[in-house]
């Protein structure tokens, strides 16, 4: 998992955006279904989910381009109902960037400032500052048609930042860039957010992007919010199978519930024995069964005579080489599906022959219960 750039600002606990029971219907179809969410001041917040799950719909309602069918949205403590987009304390970076093609870079960035009628060179100063923030100093006189995709994206960013909004909304801002530029911009965007301290709300369908940049993430499916938590929590303790799957590989293990109280579960599994685990909030008991999950990198190959407090034995049935890591598929007696295991290649996991009997170490903490 990519590491966040560690120039963290102290986080405030005050809320910036309150979304309460917001539904947006198109006829019988609900693009957004009873979504509730609190986004904190100064936070880098991501809306993550597959295409068509309602992320843009929610973002556009915050910006004021669309209105909830029911429910309410407030920004900075102020209810947004009836307030048009041009009078909201939010600015947006559009997916298409929406750079004005008849204006040059400087004029694009100054577009929103013109109405403020700033005195004595203040406008020029702020434009320069914004261009410097996105590393576009010196390109002010260029036309939009003379810029690369990455540069256009920076212009869109500067044009919104120069307005000093309370909230900056970004709709898949990196999706049009190639992989290398995208990764570079992820780091830059995060750094920029930390520097200006403005609340960022980012829409993305790329889980790595969300994990790398955000303070918190809301994972959405089919117009509903499935989980809101920090990247680490979302990745390690997904509350549903759907969330777990969306964020990367996950081994699912069937279990029988032995004991259940408010906060924890004790379950019996065939491969992993008896496990005590935290009960997820969304957990709904479905008869006596439950599903546990463990990420492939949380299973480690035990070499030679090494032992671990918790281990399972099995046989390698497939091996896939990925350069820095190797993917092993390991059959465990009693488990209906073989486990997938990712190992770094520093100890020779890439040389384990198919058919070898091996033992895997795990931490019972890494086995999390989730709702189906």
């Amino acid at each position: 998992m990519p590491e966040q750039p560690q120039i963290l600002r102290p986080q405030s606990d005050r809320s910036m955006i309150e979304i309460k029971n917001v539904t947006r219907s198109y006829g019988a179809f609900k693009a957004l279904d009873d979504a509730s969410l609190t986004i904190r001041e100064g936070e880098f917040f991501s809306l993550l989910g597959p295409s068509g799950c309602g992320k843009t719909t929610l973002l556009r309602m915050i910006a004021g381009f669309d209105n909830p069918t029911s429910g309410s949205i407030s920004v900075g403590g102020q209810p947004m109902e009836g307030i048009p987009a041009n009078r909201r304390p939010t600015n947006m970076v559009f997916q298409s960037y929406a750079i004005f093609p008849h204006l040059n870079v400087e004029q694009n960035v100054a577009y929103g400032l013109k109405r403020l009628k700033l005195q004595g060179g203040e406008e020029k100063r702020r434009v320069e500052e914004a261009l410097a923030q996105v590393s576009l100093t010196g390109l002010g006189k260029r036309l939009a048609t003379e810029l690369s995709g990455g540069q256009r994206q920076r212009v869109a960013l500067a044009r919104a930042l120069v307005m000093r909004p309370k909230v900056l909304l970004l709709d898949e801002p990196l999706s049009a860039l190639d992989k290398k530029l995208r990764e570079q911009m992820q780091v830059e965007l995060r750094r920029l957010q930390q520097a200006v301290g403005i609340t960022f709300v980012l829409v993305t369908h790329d889980q790595y992007e969300a994990l790398a940049m955000s303070d918190r993430i809301a994972v959405m499916f089919g117009g509903r919010i499935a989980q809101v938590a920090s990247p680490k929590e979302i990745y390690q303790r997904p509350v549903t199978r759907q969330v777990a799957d969306f964020l990367g590989g996950m081994n699912f293990v069937k279990a029988q519930i032995v004991e259940e109280d408010g906060a924890s579960l004790v379950v019996d599994t065939l491969g992993f024995g008896r496990i005590k685990t935290d009960k997820p909030k969304a957990f709904v008991r479905n008869g006596g069964g439950a599903t546990l999950g463990i990420r492939p990198e949380r299973l480690r190959v035990l070499w030679d005579n090494a032992t671990a407090k918790f281990e399972v034995a099995g046989k390698v049935v497939e091996r896939h080489y990925f350069g820095e890591i190797t993917h092993l598929i390991v059959e465990i007696p009693g488990l209906e599906k073989p486990l997938s295991v990712t190992e770094t290649n520093d100890f020779g996991a890439d040389d384990i022959p198919v058919g070898t009997s091996i033992r895997l170490a795990y931490d019972p903490e890494a086995l999390v219960a989730m709702a189906d």
């Binding site: 048009p84 939010t90 559009f94 298409s96 919104a160 049009a176």
Partner: protein, 274 residues
């Protein structure tokens, strides 16, 4: 061998293109040539150079009347068909609705109908409506034939106009009117001016519909038609024709430059998705 063959085939193509252009423009070249010839009959060899026929033009009251009429009709037809064209083009480029392409087809149809048929049908309709024939009826007729051109020019200007540009403007604090003034208008202005010029030129040169739908007032092409009966007036007609030709050529060139500029802009914007 290959080089030779290429030269030959290239040569043939060049010859064909040359003949094609000559055939197309030779008659057009004769017009200005004979308009500065001293003889009253258009015949080779040329007898001498004169601007006499041009100098006579402003001294002909009937011609000045016709020119004034053409100007009124041209401007009215251009403004009206561009207004209607804007509405049609915006609806066709911006919205998706059932029957959209049918409507598009119907608006473009006058382009391929024989003009004389359109003219006669228009005449019947005007008479049925009880309208007396005048420059006004000519304007209506010209609007009908201009709209397809106007709409073509405008759609190419509006196409790909990214709606998020208007949203971006609102997002940056601009009002609906401010957005129209600072974003929408500057983006589509070249296409609108281009449409006005194209329509004006078409109306200026149009004969058949004007001929059927006018009352007693003549437009320039009708005036020219009237003059053709008098052999002695021919050089004057040629001079007038040359002027019309030059004016049309200039107007259309400017219109095309503007249209390309408008289309280029919106296309570049559309390219951002790539």
């Amino acid at each position: 061998m290959i080089a030779l063959r290429r030269f030959l085939s290239g040569g043939w193509l060049r010859a064909y293109a040359f003949l094609y252009v000559v055939f197309l423009y030779l008659p057009v070249i004769f017009l200005p040539i004979f308009s500065v010839n001293t003889a009253a009959t258009p015949k080779f060899p040329l007898t001498g150079f004169t601007l006499h026929w041009y100098q006579d033009l402003p001294r002909t009251p009937a011609l000045l009347d016709a020119a004034w009429n053409s100007l009124i009709v041209g401007v009215s037809a251009a403004v009206l068909s561009t207004l209607l064209g804007i509405l049609a083009a915006r609806s066709i480029t911006r919205y998706r609705y059932p029957g959209r392409s049918t409507i598009h087809g119907l608006i473009m149809a006058p382009l391929v109908l024989p003009e004389v048929i359109v003219a006669i049908s228009m005449l019947l309709v005007m008479l049925q409506l009880g309208l007396s024939l005048s420059l006004f009826t000519v304007v209506l007729g010209h609007v009908l034939v201009c709209i397809p051109y106007s709409m073509t020019v405008l759609t190419s200007g509006f196409e790909g106009f990214d709606r998020s540009l208007e949203e971006a403007s609102a997002d940056l604090g601009e009002s609906a009117f401010g957005t129209f003034r600072r974003v929408t208008l500057p983006m589509v202005a070249p296409a609108i001016i281009s449409s006005l010029l194209v329509c004006f030129t078409i109306s200026l040169d149009e004969f058949i519909i004007a001929f059927f739908l006018t009352g007693t007032e003549a437009t320039l092409p009708i005036y020219i038609w009237g003059q053709l009966r008098f052999a002695a007036k021919l050089p004057g007609v040629l001079a007038l024709g040359t002027l019309l030709l030059v004016a049309s050529f200039l107007l259309m060139t400017v219109a095309e430059i503007l249209r390309r500029r408008a289309a280029g802009r919106t296309q570049n914007e559309g390219g951002l998705y790539a």
